[in-house]
Amino acid sequence: MKRVLRYLRAKRFEHDLSAEIEAHLEEKIDQFIEEGRTPEAARANALRQFGNRTRVAEYSREQWAFVPFDEFVQDLRFACRILARNPAFTTVAVLSLALGIGANTILFGAVDQVLLHALPYREPACLFAVTSRSANHGIEPMQVSAADFYDWRAQSHSFESLSAYSSWPMNLTNVDEPRRLESELVSTSLFSTLGVNAEMGRTFQPNEDQEKSPFVVVIKSSLVTGVWRVAANHRSRGDAQRLAGNHSRRHASQFCFPVTGC
């Protein structure tokens, strides 16, 4: 920054310096004349003693360190001229740079999100996804059956808590524009397993996954502020009439959460 300021003052500075050097020379000539030389001899002598005026000015100027900046600007101009003269080369170079930078950015973005940022849960390192495998067909991962899940939950000692979820898209109706929502059918313990809580209202209670219990949803905040348009009512306890899913309730978990941006 300092250098740039100096650079902006450069014109003024150059003028000052050359005026100063000129004055110096004149003083010297006067001195020689006072000492009894002819004006011509005095001038010649002064010039000889002073040496290369341009070089003195340049060297003084270099002390201000904007010479590197000057040279950089010159190099930049030169580069632009050369590039403008070879449009084909320029295009290829710019494209390959753009692709390279773009690919790197995407890759780093993904690595950053997936590997460097921990999941936003209480103990992300202790979270595991458990799936089944079909021994006959070698299909992996396979959805876990509800019965298996209940068995695991009852018999497994490896985990503090086990929760189930399954993709369960729903329709949002009774709004200006009905929408298909990405949502999940989950067991009531999911939020406590993940160690997260609702921003408003509450998440599920243990008895809410019983066969006869009312249909309860947890929705994401953008839905509340966006499509839902329900006045200040806290809506983490959802409005069952407006959400219609697959009605065949094959197992007892009746709780949904949107996957995206959850």
Partner: protein, 113 residues
């Protein structure tokens, strides 16, 4: 780099000499050169090729300040003034130089004995 003619000052001493010269009174470039030449009994000479770059360095360091004024010959010149920071630097440099000279002369005496 500007080639330094023979009889030039020891490296690093020019700045100190300029600061020392300006301690008595503010002077313009030519007067500084004259003063160094005369007050040293014509032994030392501040060449223009080194004087102006050195003055720029001192300006950058903030050890001197410059203002346009008028010389004794009634010419428009840039007059340099020692700043408080310059005065502190001068005393630092003088202490350093005294030690150097002391060391040098000890070696000289030692080599003679």
């Amino acid at each position: 780099m500007v080639a330094k003619p023979k009889g030039e000052l020891l490296p690093g001493t020019l700045e100190m000499l300029i600061l020392a010269t300006l301690r008595r009174e503010p002077l313009h470039g030519y007067a500084i050169a004259q003063c160094i030449h005369q007050e040293s009994g014509n032994l030392l000479r501040a060449e223009e090729g080194s004087l102006y770059p050195a003055l720029q360095r001192l300006l950058i360091e903030g050890w001197v300040s410059a203002e346009w004024g008028v010389s004794s010959r009634n010419r428009r010149v840039r007059v340099y003034t020692l700043t408080p920071a310059g005065l502190r630097q001068l005393s630092r440099q003088m202490k350093f130089m005294e030690r150097q000279i002391d060391g040098l002369s000890r070696i000289m005496r030692f080599s003679e004995s």
